[in-house]
Amino acid sequence: MPVDANWRPKIVAFACNWCSYAGADLAGLNRLQYPADVRLIRVPCSGRIDPQFVLRAFHQGADAVLVSG
């Protein structure tokens, strides 16, 4: 199957405010470059993430979901 060269994935990332979200901020402070396709959703803790959110994301058309905390 040919892949559209302009296709960009939709990546949902749930990031714990205290570690992963802070880590993403630190990546910014250090100007580390990464692909722009990921969208972070800040949560107070990875424990806050309900499996329903992950299913919802896929159901709504997300290509990948990252849970980090």
């Binding site: 405010n17 993403a24 901020d25 910014g28 402070l29 990464y34 722009a36 969208r39 959703i41």
Partner: protein
């Protein structure tokens, strides 16, 4: 009727250098519930905060979204500004388009699109925000200092001189720490006791 205001910060060139903030503000204006959107060079500055307060009053905003740096940096700054305009400070969401966008991406188009997406997420969220009230907890005005070296002693003295009680805990049988082992200390070469 909910009226969301979106405020996009240039952060000098920190954000505007990579993200087309003007375009982002235009796009934000088209999002559901958004009644007002604008950009400013430094949203956290005094004039920036004043701009938000003025817009709340003049545009009758019910919710506020600020797209700027990390909320870990300035969330409280903007909450206070919004509270100053009489709005509940929790009817607010902050969008991180600096640490997690302009600083980590170099493609202007992609970074701008990401900023729009992140703002749309915040707009959708803020429409569901409810006013929250902070409670209060008492404060025991008494400090514990762990370690009786120069750092611990100085802290303990400063706190105690301000009139508060201090409990100082030291592992060894004497306070003083490493410093009392030293002879003279630079750059003045005076005694260390």
């Amino acid at each position: 009727m909910k009226r969301v205001g979106v405020f996009v910060c240039d952060c000098g060139s920190n954000i505007a250098g990579t993200v087309d903030t003007g375009l982002v503000a235009e796009e934000a204006a088209k999002m559901p519930g958004v009644a007002f959107s604008t950009t400013y060079k430094y949203m956290c500055s005094d004039p920036g905060q004043e701009l938000i307060r003025k817009a709340i009053a003049e545009q009758g905003l019910s919710q506020v979204v600020v797209a700027s740096c990390s909320p870990r940096m300035h969330e409280n700054t903007f909450r206070k500004a919004i509270a100053g305009a009489g709005l509940n400070p929790y009817l607010f969401e902050m969008v991180n388009i600096r640490e997690q966008d302009s600083w980590v991406h170099s493609d202007r188009e992609q970074a701008t699109r990401k900023a729009c997406d992140l703002i749309r997420m915040a707009v959708f969220k803020v429409l569901k925000n409810k006013p929250l009230q902070a409670g209060t907890i008492p404060v025991t005005r008494r400090a514990l200092v762990i370690g009786g070296g120069i750092a611990g002693m100085q802290s303990a003295l400063d706190i105690a001189d301000a009139g508060y009680d201090v409990v100082l805990v030291e592992r060894e049988a004497t306070i003083g720490g490493k410093m009392v082992q030293l002879d003279k200390t630079f750059p003045t070469l005076d005694c260390s006791a």
